[in-house]
């Protein structure tokens, strides 16, 4: 396992206390804390490089543009994108998926067509497709999950028999930590001619991702879930698909020529980046990638899997705790319930011990309905969490049990 305490020293926020206790931050699937290196990169950008990109003829603006484009290349290299121009900076995963639905989907989906998503998708990979399907008179087919929280492959096969135009799924489930067999799902979808959109919000921060090896068509990710700033993220796509797509947002930067009544559009990726981009976000994201790469995504994945395993073992020892999701291989996300102690109450009680967990539906209401729970409590780990955090979680959970009469106080 990694030396989590050593990494914590790199994160100013993790030095803070909550309610007089060491902050134990276990809500990394929601967002992650930022290392000093990322904060420095953002500050340094504004101190030395800030100007509007792709516009100015002066040296400062040229440097700003180079910095922004270098960040794009950094993202491309990190995910093994087809080309830097196949990386469109977005506000995050949600905007990236909306871009695909709004541009690719609008141009290619017809009445009677089918879009396939899964019952474990985040609302951000469900609602954009619902909106698109309603607009087009197309059908949305939601693939069922198995009892232990995996995509039901036989139902996936049945859904593909409808020869969907678009298939979308999460690489890693934000609620259950399930690591889906992405390459296999993509191969099967391609065999029936579908274009595949992978929600990479929870995979990009936690495991080595190679989009060319996956052979997906679109891959969406968020910077803030991988130590980068909020409002940063990317859509990574096969360049030919982006070339053929109409624009998403109209405005400056995305145009080539503007006439009174029509316009021609810029080359990719700029065609999809209307307006002044979030340059500090791109710069911060590149710095976050540098930080992650120094440690190694393989090492991070291994560390988190060990934490998840330890957490599942430890929590399962507490009478009344139910852990959801696959028992074997999974990412560092552990969703659970504790008797009739509502997850919201659990979160309040743990907070008094300085422990931050998520309680609720995790933006996966279709999944919660299938698990037959209104909400779960969720602990999600990152490289700065250690076994001591798992122990703190379990100890505090026993306190919750005492308050609700499950264990003697």
């Amino acid at each position: 396992m990694l030396d989590a305490a050593r990494f914590r020293a790199d994160f100013p926020l993790l030095q803070r206390q909550e309610h007089g206790r060491r902050l134990v931050y276990l809500d990394n699937a929601a967002t992650t804390q930022k290392p000093q290196a990322v904060l420095d990169a953002i500050l340094d950008y504004y101190r030395t490089t800030n100007a509007n990109v792709h516009r100015g003829a002066y040296s400062l603006a040229i440097r700003a543009t180079e910095t922004y484009e270098a960040a794009r290349e950094r993202v491309a290299r990190f995910l093994n994108a087809w080309a830097p121009e196949g990386v469109v900076f977005t506000r995050g995963t949600t905007e990236a998926i909306n871009l695909v639905a709004g541009a690719y989907g609008r141009a290619n989906l017809r009445q009677g067509d089918t879009v396939v998503v899964t019952a474990m998708d985040h609302h951000s990979n469900v609602v954009p497709w619902q909106i698109l399907c309603q607009e087009k008179g197309a059908a949305l087919r939601m693939v069922e999950i198995t009892e232990d929280g995996r995509i039901d492959l036989s139902d996936y096969g049945q859904a593909l028999e409808r020869r969907p135009k678009i298939v979308a799924f999460p690489y890693v489930s934000n609620s259950l930590g399930t690591v889906n067999p992405a390459a296999q799902l993509i191969r099967l979808a391609h065999a029936v001619g579908a274009v595949v959109v992978v929600d990479g919000a929870q995979s990009t921060p936690h495991l080595r991702v190679d989009v060319q090896a996956l052979d997906c068509d679109f891959y969406a990710c968020s910077g803030h879930k991988m130590l980068g700033p909020m409002g940063s993220g990317a859509l990574v796509a096969k360049p030919a698909l982006l070339e053929a797509m109409p624009p998403y947002h109209g405005g400056g930067e995305m145009i080539s020529k503007v006439w009174d009544d029509h316009s021609t559009y810029n080359r990719i990726p700029h065609k999809f980046e209307a307006g002044t981009p979030n340059v500090e976000g791109a710069v911060g994201l590149a710095a976050a990638i540098d930080y992650l790469e120094r440690i190694g995504l393989e090492q991070i994945a291994e560390h988190e899997q060990a934490l998840a395993k330890a957490a599942i073992e430890r929590l399962s020892q507490i009478d009344g705790v139910v852990v959801y999701g696959p028992r074997g291989h999974r990412a560092g996300v552990v969703s659970f319930t504790y008797g009739d102690v509502h997850p919201h109450d659990i979160a309040t009680i743990l907070d008094q011990d300085g422990i931050c967990i998520r309680a609720g539906h995790h933006c996966t209401q279709p999944l919660m309905r299938r698990l037959n729970v209104a909400a779960t409590a969720r602990a999600s780990f990152y490289l700065y969490n250690g076994l001591e955090d798992v122990e703190a979680l379990a100890t505090s959970l026993v306190k919750a049990g005492a308050l609700f009469g499950y264990v003697p106080a």
């Binding site: 509502h342 008094q352 011990d353």
Partner: protein
């Protein structure tokens, strides 16, 4: 490792009376012919309530609720229903105001006998994010009379 018992603030939040209402909610169910029916949920945490009222001559004759959610929201709903019967609409709206004041930390409201068992929820005011849980059923109640206005 810290193994100290839960602190007083939490004890005050999760009193026996609250857990009792949470686990054995009063007036749970639905009315066959409600004059007012309101569904409200808190999309942030998933708390839900369906509130049914039977109002005749501006007096609440009967009340039932069905809900899913945390101990605070469900206990608040159960305690609220105990107070409503045979009270006039203006009276229950006044109670809603007192409840809201108690959630804002108003000490006089927290000892107001008119709030009945609900006074046990006074500790919620120390947990700002949970105030919306305690007020969910009350918001359903005030919505019921807004929509009929």
């Amino acid at each position: 490792m810290d193994t100290s018992p839960p602190e007083p603030k939490l004890r005050a939040l999760y009193q026996e009376l609250i857990l009792d209402h949470y686990r054995r909610p009063r007036n749970k169910g639905m009315l066959e012919h409600p004059t007012h029916a309101v569904s409200l949920n808190n999309p942030l945490c998933g708390d839900e309530i369906d509130l049914h009222l039977l109002v005749q001559d501006a007096v609440i004759r009967d009340v039932r609720f069905v809900g899913r959610g945390c101990s605070i929201s469900q206990a608040s709903a159960s305690m609220m229903t105990q107070l409503l019967k045979e009270k006039s609409v203006p009276q229950v709206l006044t109670l809603a105001g007192r409840m809201s004041a108690m959630m804002q930390g108003d000490a006089a409201a927290a000892t107001d006998k008119a709030l009945g068992d609900l006074r046990a929820l006074a500790g919620v005011s120390k947990f700002p994010v949970r105030i919306k849980c305690a007020l969910l059923p009350w918001n359903a109640l005030t919505d019921a009379f807004k929509s009929s206005a």
